[in-house]
Point group: C2
Chain length 412, copies 2
C-alpha cells in the first residue's frame, strides 16, 4: 500500500481533544488506502517547560542530558495518539526514536539524521498495522544515547521518514492553512499560494516566514519529497493548503511568488578598513567563529588603499559581532577606524523562481520603493531573490507596496 507521512505540530496535539481531531484526519487517509506514518510533536508548552527546568538546573548543561529530558514530551504524544487511533479501530502503535531506530549523529541537541532503516515499521505494516506513530524531533546516537534535532526538528523527522519510506507525500499539519504571498498580519491582500517550488520555500523560510523549518525544506528538495502544509483546524479537501514541490510540477509561476521580511536586522559598517588581499577572510572568519549569521555583505570602492565594509546580521548578535571585531583588531589581524552599528533596519525581500528567466524585477522593486519615498541602505541579490535593507519604520509600507506592485493578490 502507498505510504503517507502526516506530521502534527505542538498546537495540533495540545489537548486530548485536538489529538482526537488529528487522529480523525489520519483515519480519513487510512480509509483511502494509505499506510500512514504519523510524526508528532510534544503537546504545546511541554517542551518549553522541560527546557526551562534544564536551564534552571544547569545553565551550561550537558547536551546529552538535555536531550534525554527534552525528548520525553514527544513520547507522551506518540503513545496517546496511538491509543486514540486504536479507540477508532485503526491498528496503530507508537515508536520512539531509538525503537525505529532513527539513527543520528552524536551532535546532541542539534543532531542530523543519518539513516532510518524502514524494515521494522514495514514489517508491522505487512502484519496489518495501518499507522506507525513516531515521536518526532528525536533519534539515537551511535553510542546509544538519545539525541534531538534542534527546535522545529519534527518537520525534519517527517521529511526524513517520507524519503526513507518513499512516501507519496508528506503532509505538515500546523496552525496556519498554508504558505502566503506575504505575512497576512502585515498585508490584508496576502493570498494563500497553492503550489510553491522548493527553492522559493527555502528562501521564504530562511527569510522569516516560519511555516516550515529550513532544514526540512532542504531535505525535501534533495530527496524530491512532496511537502504539503495545511491547517489541522479546518475541514480539509484534497487540494487544501500549499504544496511545496519541484518547480517542474508548477505549470505557470509568477515572476515573484512572495514578499518576505525580517524585522530585527542590523547593519554594521567597518569604516576605513585597510584594503588588501585576504581582508574579507580576515573579517568574516572571526565573525563566523563567533557564530554570527552574516547575511548581506557590501564593500565600497577603495580609495587610498582603504575601504568601508558593510554587513548585516540579526540585531541580537550585534554585541557579539562587535566583540569579535575588536578582538581581531587587538590581535592585529584587521585594521579599521570605526565600527558603526545601525540597529534600526529591517530586511524586505522579493522571492520567485520566475526571476531567473525574466529581467526587470530589480528595477521594478527599486522604483516601487522609491515612489514610496523609502531609501534603500543595502541591496543583495541571488538567482531567485532580491533583498534590501531599509529603515524599520518603512517595513510594513514596503511589504504592502511590493505586494501590490507584483500583483501578488491575483492568482496565477
Amino acid at each position: 500500500m502507498p505510504v503517507l507521512v502526516m506530521k502534527f505540530g505542538g498546537t495540533s496535539v495540545a489537548t486530548l481533544d485536538r489529538i482526537r481531531r488529528a487522529a480523525k484526519r489520519v483515519g480519513v487517509e487510512v480509509s483511502k488506502g494509505y499506510d500512514v506514518i504519523v510524526i508528532v510533536s510534544a503537546m504545546s508548552g511541554k517542551t518549553n517547560e522541560l527546557v526551562g527546568w534544564v536551564n534552571e538546573t544547569s545553565p551550561l548543561y550537558d547536551a546529552r542530558e538535555y536531550d534525554a529530558v527534552v525528548s520525553s514530551g514527544e513520547n507522551v504524544t506518540a503513545g496517546l495518539m496511538a491509543l486514540t487511533l486504536q479507540e477508532m479501530d485503526v491498528p496503530a502503535r507508537s515508536w520512539q526514536g531509538w525503537q525505529v531506530p532513527v539513527k543520528t549523529t552524536s551532535a546532541h541537541s542539534a543532531a542530523r539524521i543519518e539513516d532510518i532503516p524502514p524494515e521494522n515499521i514495514m514489517a508491522k505494516f505487512g502484519e496489518g498495522m495501518r499507522v506507525a506513530v513516531v515521536a518526532g524531533f528525536q533519534g539515537v546516537s551511535p553510542e546509544g544515547r538519545i539525541t534531538t534535532l534542534g527546535r522545529g526538528g519534527s518537520d525534519t523527522t517527517a521529511v526524513a521518514f517520507a524519503a526513507a519510506f518513499k512516501a507519496e507525500r508528506c503532509d505538515i499539519y500546523t496552525d496556519v492553512d498554508g504558505v502566503y504571498t506575504t505575512d497576512p498580519r502585515m498585508c490584508d491582500k496576502a493570498r494563500k499560494i497553492d503550489k510553491i517550488a522548493f527553492e522559493e520555500m527555502l528562501e521564504l523560510a530562511s527569510l522569516g516566514a516560519k511555516v516550515l523549518q529550513t532544514r526540512s525544506v532542504e531535505l525535501a528538495m534533495r530527496y524530491k519529497v512532496k511537502l504539503r502544509v495545511l491547517s489541522s483546524f479546518e475541514e480539509q479537501s484534497d487540494d487544501a493548503g500549499t504544496l511545496v514541490c519541484d518547480e517542474d510540477e508548477i505549470m505557470e509561476s509568477n515572476v515573484v511568488s512572495g514578499i518576505a521580511y525580517s524585522r530585527d536586522e542590523a547593519k554594521m559598517t567597518l569604516v576605513s578598513v585597510a584594503d588588501r588581499p585576504g581582508i574579507a577572510a580576515a573579517i568574516f572568519g572571526p565573525l563566523s567563529d563567533a557564530g554570527i549569521n552574516v547575511d548581506m555583505i557590501i564593500q565600497n570602492i577603495s580609495e587610498d588603499g582603504r575601504t568601508d565594509m558593510t554587513f548585516s546580521c540579526p540585531t541580537e548578535q550585534v554585541a557579539r559581532a562587535q566583540k569579535a571585531m575588536d578582538e581581531a583588531k587587538s590581535a592585529g589581524e584587521i585594521n579599521f577606524q570605526d565600527l558603526v552599528a545601525d540597529t534600526n533596519v529591517s530586511k524586505v525581500s522579493a522571492v520567485g523562481i520566475g526571476m531567473r528567466s525574466q529581467s526587470g524585477v530589480a528595477a521594478k522593486m527599486f522604483k516601487t520603493l522609491s515612489d514610496e519615498g523609502i531609501n534603500i541602505k543595502v541591496i543583495a541579490t541571488s538567482e531567485i531573490k532580491i533583498s534590501v535593507l531599509i529603515d524599520r519604520k518603512y517595513m510594513e509600507l514596503a511589504v504592502q507596496a511590493l505586494h501590490d506592485a507584483f500583483e501578488l493578490d491575483k492568482a496565477t
Copy 2:
C-alpha cells in the same frame, strides 16, 4: 569501589529544589568513596497526570502504549538529577531502562525484572563516572518495547539493582523517616524501629504499612539485600531510618515488632453451604478467577451436612465477590442459602518473628482486646502474625491497646 544504591521517591524529587537536596545526599555518599546508583521516581503528580490522560483517551487501553506514556516521567527526573550532580562536579549520567538494559517480561504495566546486566554501567564506573542515575519503574521487553513494573515499582527497581551490582546497601529515601511500630497517626506512642527482619517487613507491608512495596521486600529477602528506609527531608546520620535485614543480623528482637491494620476489610459469610469434599475449591476457585484477594478463611463445624463458610476481602471487592458466588450457584457448582456481607470491619494484626519461639502471644492479644470490650469476629494466624477482624469503630482503640500490651513504645 563499593556500590551503593539510593532510591528517591516522587515527593523527594517533586521540585528542582528537592532534586538538589537529594543530589546533595548522593554527593555525601560519593565523597565517602561509594560508586552510587541512584533510582528516581517521577516528580510527584506527574505519573498520575499521565495515567489520567491514558484513561481518558482509552479506558480499556493497550498496556504497551500505557507503558510508553507513563514511563516518561521518570526519564525527566533522571536527566535533571544527572544535570544537578554535574553542577556539583560529581561525574554522573542518566540511564533509561532500555539503555541499561533492565530486561523484563512482556507483562506490560505489571512486568517483572528478569535480568540487569551490570556491564554497561560498571564500564562507566571504571572510566570515572561516580553516579549512574537510572529511571525507576521501567524496563524493556524481549520485543524491545518499554515496560513498567506497576505502581511502586521504583522500590523494586532499586532492590534489583542492588542485587545485580552486589551493592553494600539499598537506601530508600521517602517522606517518612522509617518503619514504625504502628501508624503514628493512630497511636502517639508509636516508635521508629531501628532494625526489622525481612519477614516482618513483608507482613507489615502487605498489611497496609505502605512504606515499601511488597515485591521489593520479597526481592531483598531473596537476594539478601540490606534495605534502609529513611527520610529525604531530614539531616541524616549513618544509622538513620530503619534497616530491613536478615533476622540473623538482629541481636535481640521483640516478640511482637509491630501492630498493623487494614481499615477497609469486609467479612463475607456463605450461610448453610452443603458440606462435601471439594467444596472449598468450588468456592475459592471462582473467587480467585474473579480477582478477589481473599485473606482470612474460617469454616464452622458441620451440622446435618451443611456448614457456614466465612472469608474476608477488601471492601471494594464485595460486589464482585457476590457476583462470582451468585454465578457459581446458578451454574450448580455450589449450593448455599444466603451470602451475608459485613462491610463494617477492620483487620488488626500483631507481627513479630519472636512469636516463633515464644508462646502466649495469641492469648495476650485476645485478653487485651477482651479487656477493652472488643469482640473478635474472625481470627487467623501465621508463624509470625496473628490477625483479627473486629468492628471498625474499635480499630484505633485496638491498635493502641495492643501497642501498650506488647510494650512497643519501649526500645528493645
